[in-house]
Subunit: 83 residues, 2 copies
DNA sequence: GAGAATTTGTACGTATGTATG
DNA sequence: ACATACATACGTACAAATTCT
């Protein structure tokens, strides 16, 4: 799975989808994760702002939790927030 | 009500709070509204990105609806989305 | 405790694309 | 064709919180 700049889907959503898939598949286990924003931006060739937007989306979905100074973590059941 | 750059509250949240208050007070009636992103950014002395973040927050709260090419509108009951 | 390094948070500015009127 | 308005994406800078040395 990788980013396709030519696709109709926005880049930030493509990244969010990739990370969501990795979480749901267990590749990114509950507890902690998601390489830092800088790492993600380098790995996928995206601006940091774009990475942030993807992570914000995942946080709103309740999949991850972002903590300033620490990092971004996968929530334990993958849906702790709501719904 | 105006923006205070020195406050602890982020600028985008201050703007969102101002707009929310205007909506709930009826100053911004249901139907249509919110001066354009450009207008808001000039009126409050904020970057457009900051205005967008405020409007995104209000949209997530279900207070407004943003339509590309048209504008940002106040939702009818002020809480149509969720909860 | 001091200081550096890391990581997320906020804010700015700019450019281009897409949709509407 | 043109103007307006939101959408996406880039790059930069500094602040704030945490962790490590």
């Amino acid at each position: 799975m990788s980013i396709d700049p030519g696709a109709a889907t926005p880049l930030w959503r493509q990244l969010a989808d990739i990370l969501r898939a990795q979480i749901e598949s267990g590749e990114l286990p509950a507890g902690r994760i998601v390489p830092s924003e800088n790492t993600l931006s380098q790995q996928h060739g995206l601006a940091r702002g774009t990475v942030v937007k993807a992570l914000d989306a995942l946080e709103r979905e309740g999949l991850v939790e972002r903590i300033q100074g620490r990092g971004t973590f996968v929530r334990r059941d993958g849906r702790a927030g709501k719904e």
